[in-house]
């Protein structure tokens, strides 16, 4: 096979040195340049991703509909033989009914919610093992921008961190790099909800005098980020109060099942339709931050 000569080796070293220097000396500009290089690449890669995502959904359906039930089939072989044919016929209908139920719930929620939202389908996971993130099939071309909040009818999912023309990466609420301002519904104490390495969430900076207890519900405070006030984040399971600390923290189990995400809602205007509409009709110079 081909082997590099000393000339190509030198070229390689120069390329590598140039790349590292550019990233170190001009980090922001390099990121911008890389983003621009990625613009034409992303849609080409998104096509096979969507094809593989469809295959993934089919595999999951097969797994849930047939293989997982196979163990039960072994236990109840005689009875199962009688109903197998009907089950096979009904499997497709059940899947359709389940999808219809989920979509109806999403539509109802969309109707109730004051914010402007976009429905998106989860098509993949993060390309590395280091971030808890999912990929959705709506991107900059659909009006999705970084920092927008992502939810399901059950609760907060995370926030958009990166977009391409037709897909976006959503960093889950359980990722340690994510931070959302939260509010304890009963005590009205505010804090920051961050993910943990163990895959849960933790509410930090709670006042020492707070009477927070296990079971308390945590909702979004609406102060920062792309979420309106009052969306459910999760329930507190334990409190950490270390001697000498200025604050206490609480462990949270998220309300949304982040391991089985299929459809999500992206909040494009967290302040509500009327506010957003009013804002869009105002001339630019009159808009306040």
């Amino acid at each position: 096979m081909f082997r590099s000569t000393s000339g190509t080796r030198r070229v390689t070293l120069v390329l590598l040195a140039l790349l590292f220097s550019a990233l170190l000396v001009l980090p922001t500009q390099s990121q911008g340049l890389l983003q621009r290089i990625g613009v034409p690449l992303a849609p080409i890669v998104t096509l096979p991703i969507e094809a593989f995502a469809a295959l993934d959904h089919s595999l999951r359906d097969v797994w849930e509909g047939y293989i997982a039930l196979h163990q039960v089939h072994e236990e109840n072989q005689r009875l199962r033989r009688e109903v197998e044919l009907l089950r096979d016929q009904n499997s497709r209908l059940r899947e359709a009914a389940s999808a219809s139920q989920r979509l109806t719930a999403l539509l109802e929620f969309k109707g109730r919610a004051a914010s402007q939202i976009i429905v998106a389908q989860v098509i993949g996971r993060d390309a590395t093992n280091w971030y808890r993130a999912v990929m959705v099939n709506k991107g900059a071309g659909d009006g999705v921008r970084a920092e927008m909040g992502v939810i399901t009818p059950a609760g907060v999912v995370g926030r958009v961190v990166k977009t391409t023309a037709s897909a976006s990466m959503v960093l889950l609420v359980t990722d340690p790099n994510n931070a959302i301002t939260g509010l304890i519904q009963r005590t009205r104490d505010e804090g920051i909800v961050e993910g943990t390495t163990q895959g849960l969430a933790r509410m930090k900076y709670l006042p020492l005098l707070s009477t927070v207890r296990a079971g308390d519900r945590v909702v979004t405070s609406g102060l920062t980020g792309g979420f309106p006030r009052g969306l459910p984040i999760g329930a507190i399971t334990s409190i950490d109060k270390m001697e000498g600390d200025l604050f206490q923290s609480a462990e949270i189990v998220p309300d949304a099942d982040l391991t089985r995400l299929e459809e999500v809602l992206i909040i494009t205007a967290p302040r509500g339709e009327s506010d957003a509409a009013a804002l869009s009709t105002q001339p630019l110079q009159q808009r306040k931050p």
Binding site: T8, L19, L59
Partner: protein, 173 residues
Amino acid sequence: MKPALYLALLFGLVPIQTTVLHYAGIGGIRPDLCLVAASLVGFFAGELEGLLLGLALGLVQDLFSAGELWLNLVTKGSVGFLAGVAGRYVAYATTITVLIAVMGLSLLSGTVFLLAVEPRGLAEGFFAVRSVLLPQSLWDAVLAAGIYWLLTKHFRRKQAILEESAGLGSLMR
């Protein structure tokens, strides 16, 4: 043939990595196909090809990852380059050599990620090492060694067939 293979890797690996590869995950940890590809190409085709393919794969991977845009680009590029350098100094590559080399490269790449995600405190750092860094490097190494073993087996068989036909040809002459 080679450009087609590289294009297929460039546009095929990340879609597989982000969608169906979780079926091959152990404890939620999937092998990094781009790292394995960059290191094998670097190992066999030299540092320039390893670097260029690594950079391209890294950029595509960065577009579909929540991390910063340089992380995969730099790590995969470096992995391709270092694998090329390692390949140059290995006189006789075996499956074990590839296993050890890819494990080392994966550990190195993972350490960069670990520093980039900034774990809060030693306990979280050790947890990330135990739950992501080590299992992933093991996975990467085993996968790379497996692919290497299959490739060498295939090429040896091909070579044997060629030699056999050459031998028959000379006999007939």
